[in-house]
Subunit: 138 residues, 6 copies
């Protein structure tokens, strides 16, 4: 299995609901380093899995939808605790959509799964990995 | 699959038996950066896999059992070469025990496997990953 | 010149006033990795500059005064843009106070200057370095 | 599953053919940090997966076959775009050969798969992971 | 003294003249992580040293003048061994020019010196630090 | 001022004398990442400060004098607490000797000072920086 990973980061504020979160129930923030890993069993004719430049542009476009924001105030996160784990899942969904809409190029057709990893500090990080949903026409 | 990783470190001395180890047969030491990764197929109602604070406390408790020590003198390592690979396996067992004893919280019930990775230098690291044993009552 | 550095991190929210800040005028956040460097021309009799454990405790105590918070709501930051540069200066002041109050141990008497560095992302960081004010009795 | 990883690096020049590569069609270069991960279900009697020193020597020997070179001029890469993904695959093949020729020691007999990861920059990396081919006599 | 650092990277090819360079006399390459540090004794009214966004844009503009290139073929490097040390000096000159032309904003008027650091591998890096030339009108 | 830094690492055991050291009074160990920085006001005719390959060889030779050892048993450390700060000073002295004996090449004649930095963990490091003693003939 091949994989190709691109990284970027966001700087967001948010708060959590639930006593288990302790001081993190207050509005606080994080620099999340975001790593998006694309996995495929083969490369295309140019020996590419996905084009790095295209992947970086697409990841940046997705991150712009909530970068430099207080996630508590954004409609797409209403009712959710925006934990590191959850944000991995959220970005994963947006990357799958980008893939199915062809925004990562023809070569990306071989991508079978995506892993999104977010580092919240040098001492803690989370990830979500799952297969890419395939439509009949894909 | 979701994963949540917490990191810490220990500073230990030890020596190895066997000619294959060369100069590492002498008493020497290492700073091991320890990364404990918990894997689960779903999050709990608060969007958590395991509570990061609880995971850090439990990992610290486990590491305290041999931190700042010469592993050659500790009873739990008698007769073992405490290689990086072996220490991953050892910590994995202690984390599984912590999980089964409920010390990582109710949400951790979904954890299916644990990976322990130890970095011994910028140029070498090892890991052990295995499923979490489940008792009938778990 | 000797130096000894300890590191920790905080996860805070804040916002900036001024058009130059662009999207950072919104409430957002950051994980700041904080590096506190103590500089002295000599070591004490035990070959220590400052005790690492004491330095880590003191840095943690200082960071707890604003960790997991929205800096916009804390009285000590009223009227200030809490830029990375400014926060270095702020923490520097608190470390100098700790030093002059003897909370870093007798060995720390030789410390002549302190540098505080904050990493806001893998691509940007700031620092403030200045001498430690000496009172007549110090 | 156990794993053991050793790391090294190369500094190479190359160019790519195909409009999709944009400015990377020009002769440019990269420092590739190379991570070679060996995976095995068990350790040997000395608690080793593979000997770290032997693994580092073998990885270095492989990397010397193209380090400090313009890959466009080397016969083993004729007709190939030497993308990061492809170089992972190339090194993987050479490590499998080293394993089957016994150059990683007797303990390495348990190695079932190898993952090769190349970091081309702080923001992009690729990997190739696959099982180790076994001959009848292995 | 305050400092503000921004980082980026380039991927270049080049070769060196002189027997001392050994295998590096061949065309090879490097990913250089470039860190540009601006130093000033005070912050502006917004608590900024230089605007991070402006600094990143300007550094990127400078790096674009030789990124994805074979430095041996670029006119600005004719007759020079483009060692890591020399490239630090070269970028330092371009940053000083940007500063004196006002491309880093009004706040940058307080910048007294600039340090440019280039990492060529995890095991080697170089830097050049010097004061910023001041014209009569600056 | 130019600087050139090379890095390597050692894995040692040791213990400290003095109640202030707490659990570090026991035999324990560390992986020290060692960074040796050479500083000079100018480059040689080949645009080099010191030859990286020569610097790496010399640093390795120095580190071999105590790598994979229990420092408590080595004659050169008798009566000393081998703190991170002290080891920086110790290595600094050996590098100055290497320089004065010409083992870093003719170009190194311009080196005015050396800084040695040792990282003992991701959360603590120390350094020693001082001028290079010059003899009459140098």
């Amino acid at each position: 299995m091949f994989s190709l990973t691109v990284a970027d980061h966001v700087m967001i504020a948010h708060s959590f609901r639930g006593e288990a979160f302790g001081p993190a129930q207050r509005v606080h923030g994080a620099t999340f380093v975001v790593e998006a890993e694309f996995r495929a069993p083969r490369l295309d004719g140019a020996n590419l899995l996905v084009d790095i430049a295209a992947a970086r542009v697409e990841l940046r476009r997705i991150l712009d939808s909530f970068d430099y924001s207080n996630l508590d105030t954004l409609p797409q996160f209403t009712g959710e605790n925006t934990t590191t784990e959850f944000l991995c899942f959220h970005i994963h969904g947006l990357l799958c959509a980008a893939l199915s809409e062809g925004r990562l190029g023809a070569g990306a057709a071989a991508v079978e799964s995506i892993k999104v990893l977010l580092r919240e500090s040098p001492l803690a990080w989370a990830a979500y990995e799952a297969g890419v949903p395939r439509t009949a026409s894909a």
